[in-house]
């Protein structure tokens, strides 16, 4: 897809609806601007926090009730690095 965008006097650009829909863009999403020669590429960037979503795997065999995790914390022990 290719579209021509116009820069406003306040240096803002409007992203057409079809591009927003295609890329599932939402207000406050972040875009990384990459400049190479005379070209400007905008790449949708996941926020640092959302990159962490589901990033921890449960070790095989571990059954733990995360909703009541304090029941599993042994404050007297030292089993952490």
């Amino acid at each position: 897809m290719q579209r021509t965008l116009t820069i406003t006097k306040q240096w803002q650009i409007y992203i057409p609806e079809e591009i927003r829909t295609l890329l599932k863009l939402q207000p406050t999403d972040r875009l990384k601007a990459l400049v190479k020669g005379k070209s400007l590429t905008l790449v949708k960037e996941e926020s640092p926090i959302m990159k962490l979503a589901g990033s921890v795997k449960t070790p095989p065999g571990l059954k733990v009730d995360l909703d009541n995790i304090r029941d599993y914390i042994d404050y007297t022990g030292d089993d952490t690095p």
Binding site: P27, S47, A53, T58, L66, I69, Y72, D79, P81
Partner: protein, 141 residues
């Protein structure tokens, strides 16, 4: 809406495929959009670190766990509460059957801030508004 995120919310967000992973992801996205003002505390982050690195639990290395904590601190508009109110926590501990660490964390929650947690023990405490992520999301429509 101001929400204080408890240890179990961060863990359900970080750990893959728990029953609550999806709803916690939605909650974090809404925070990133600015629809909630998030609070948490150094005690909560200490517990997150402990659970992630414990050899009985998730067994993450120190550096991997630090990476998660740094990511948590990057969430939009986060207020990190460092102050504890030990006397208040002891008083609450004496009056209830809730454990001391819960009491310490509850007394860190500022007034007018909703405590967002799945811990049903905390629902019994008077004077603190407690909601699950589902209830928080429902309240913003």
């Amino acid at each position: 809406m101001k929400i204080f995120l408890d240890t179990n919310i961060w863990l359900n967000f970080l750990v893959r495929d728990t029953d609550q992973t999806k709803v916690c992801n939605v909650l974090m996205r809404e925070i990133e959009k600015g629809r909630f003002l998030p609070y948490t505390s150094s005690l909560v982050l200490f517990e997150v670190y402990h659970v992630l690195t414990s050899q009985h639990l998730y067994k993450l290395t120190k550096s991997a766990a630090i990476e998660k904590l740094e990511g948590i601190q990057s969430i939009r508009n986060l207020t990190l509460i460092e102050l504890t109110h030990f006397s208040q926590a002891i008083e609450l501990f004496e009056q209830t059957k809730i454990n001391l660490s819960d009491c310490l964390i509850v007394t860190q929650v500022p007034k007018a801030v909703v405590l967002c947690t799945y811990d049903k023990q905390l629902w019994k405490i008077k004077g603190v508004t407690v909601k699950t992520p589902q209830e928080c999301l429902k309240s913003i429509g």
